[in-house]
């Protein structure tokens, strides 16, 4: 784990160029209503997350957790309201926003079945504009963070579900963004995988980054939460 946190902090510092009083994440009155549904899935959701804070987002299935995460990730847009990370909005500077945010969606998708773990790390680093001079170091740190060294030459379709999840998480933490969004990240992880994830989260927060952990229940998490929210009837409730 040594090196992973250092790398995260360095990159986060590089990206952070705003005044200290600007929160990492600011969500203002975000509303989303899906077509064909009577009620809005998200209703005027507000959320502020500061440097180094770890938040959890709980709620029943279908409560709108993933919808909120996708909006925060910049994958889909809200019907109304605003989202910004370090003051950067996905509507006005999509590229700048994506440099600051990383999203690990739920499930096992998002990997190229016939390509190796190493290829994924390199491809992700290139996509995330990791500079050439630090790419190798960042990839090494990502592999170390999730104990992928022995798997690096293997194709991902030959990995177990838990190993694939570690690859997906490594890709999420690789660019060391300001905000990491994790949707049900512990799925398929064994004890060792959960420990690695907890260490990575703590190192990310220690480096000044923020994180949202999303799952139906958030009991017995292997790290300390700073904030806990739940979604009910489209409203975000601070618990």
């Amino acid at each position: 784990m040594i090196g992973a946190g250092t790398s995260a902090a360095a990159t986060a510092d590089q990206v952070r160029t705003v005044a200290p009083d600007v929160p990492v994440l600011r969500v203002e009155a975000v509303t989303k209503k899906w077509r064909g549904r009577d009620l809005a899935t998200l209703r005027a959701v507000d959320l502020v997350l500061h440097d180094g804070r770890i938040a959890a987002l709980a709620g029943e299935n279908g409560a709108g957790k993933t919808t909120l995460l996708r909006i925060l990730a910049g994958l889909i847009t809200a019907d109304s309201g605003r989202v910004s990370v370090d003051g950067v909005s996905p509507d006005t500077d999509a590229s700048g926003y994506q440099r600051r945010v990383s999203f690990v969606p739920a499930g096992q998708t998002g990997l190229y079945a016939r390509l190796t773990v190493d290829f994924h790390l390199d491809f992700c680093a290139r996509l995330m504009y990791v500079p050439r001079e630090s790419r190798r170091r960042v990839i090494e740190a990502a592999a170390e963070r999730f104990d992928l060294h022995e798997l690096r030459a293997q194709r991902v379709d030959r990995l177990s579900m838990g190993q694939r999840q570690r690859v997906r998480l490594a890709l999420g933490f690789l660019p060391a963004p300001r905000l990491i969004l994790l949707d049900e990240p512990a799925n398929s992880l064994d004890t060792r995988g959960n420990e690695l994830l907890a260490h990575a989260i703590e190192a990310h927060a220690a480096g000044g980054g923020s994180l949202i952990w999303c799952a139906p229940t958030v009991d017995n998490l292997p790290f300390e939460l700073d904030e806990l929210y739940s979604l009910r009837a489209g409203r975000l409730i601070d618990r």
């Binding site: 077509r35 990730a73 910049g74 994958l75 998708t109 998002g110 990997l111 996509l127 995330m128 504009y129």
Partner: protein, 269 residues
């Protein structure tokens, strides 16, 4: 790192991805190229039956059709390989990673056209080489100029590939329509027979797509076939097609991505 370097690195990443994925299927290229060689062989023997006024000799028709077959793969690549790739990425969930990157989906899809384009050019070169080596098709010295011309031809099809990809992102399924368009273009553009044989009421179509001028120019450069106009005129047509349709293709792709992000359907398939 400058923006140009970041873009270049990401683009190289896409090419590496596509090359590695392609090579992981060991027999794919061999079977693909063998299929084309079989077509060339088939048309060689069909050409032995051709004795019409349009062509001076069976060899003239053979050279005509070989260039048509070679360039046809470029068209198929442009119009079907890229949209198919986008759909495959949607199903695998890998498109999401491209959308959620600073490189972005428009640049990602555009970068994804490069490898199929280069592969189609290689396949076209091998096809013509096979026809020359095995069946003695004469090749002129100007054939060297056919390589940049073929590259330009590929570029002129990219806007249509972007439009088709935009359709995949919004409508999720356009493969049937693309097959229809490819077959239609092969019929009206002079791949297997000269456009002059078509009924006069449909001949206007040769002026509204880049395939016919590209074919005429490439046949002239490779096999010395006579052209209706000048080579410069045909080149100008290709450049004009790129100039007019490339911005339209990019605009359509941007619109499709923004619309599907607003609707929340961007990762649906």
């Amino acid at each position: 790192m400058t923006a140009v370097a970041a873009y270049a690195d990401a683009t190289v990443g896409f090419i590496k991805r596509d090359v590695t994925g392609f090579l992981s299927y060991r027999l794919r290229f061999v079977s693909q190229i063998l299929g084309t060689f079989f077509s060339v062989t088939l048309f060689y023997y069909i050409s032995r039956l051709i004795t019409v006024g349009t062509f001076k000799s069976p060899d003239a028709y053979f050279a005509f059709v070989v260039v048509g077959i070679a360039i046809m793969s470029t068209l198929v690549t442009s119009l079907s390989a890229l949209p198919a790739r986008v759909r495959q990425e949607l199903v695998a969930g890998t498109f999401e990673r491209v959308v959620l990157s600073p490189f972005g989906p428009v640049a990602g899809i555009t970068a994804a056209v490069l490898f199929p384009m280069l592969l189609a050019l290689l396949e076209a070169t091998l096809t013509i080489g096979f026809a020359a080596a095995v069946f003695g098709m004469p090749i002129r010295a100007t054939a060297v100029l056919a390589i940049p011309t073929a590259f330009l031809t590929s570029l002129s099809f990219v806007p249509f590939a972007l439009l088709a990809s935009a359709s995949v992102i919004v409508a999720k399924q356009v493969q049937t329509g693309i097959g229809f368009v490819v077959t239609g273009i092969s019929l009206i553009s002079g791949v297997f027979f000269p456009v002059s044989l078509l009924p006069s009421w449909i001949r206007w179509t040769e002026n509204v797509q880049p395939f016919t001028p590209a074919l005429n120019l490439l046949r002239h450069l490779i096999a010395g076939a006579p052209m209706d106009g000048t080579a410069a005129g045909a080149l100008l047509k290709l450049v004009a097609f790129i100039g007019i349709f490339a911005p339209l293709g990019w605009f359509a792709l941007r619109w499709a991505i923004r619309t599907s992000q607003r609707r929340g359907t961007i990762i649906e398939y």
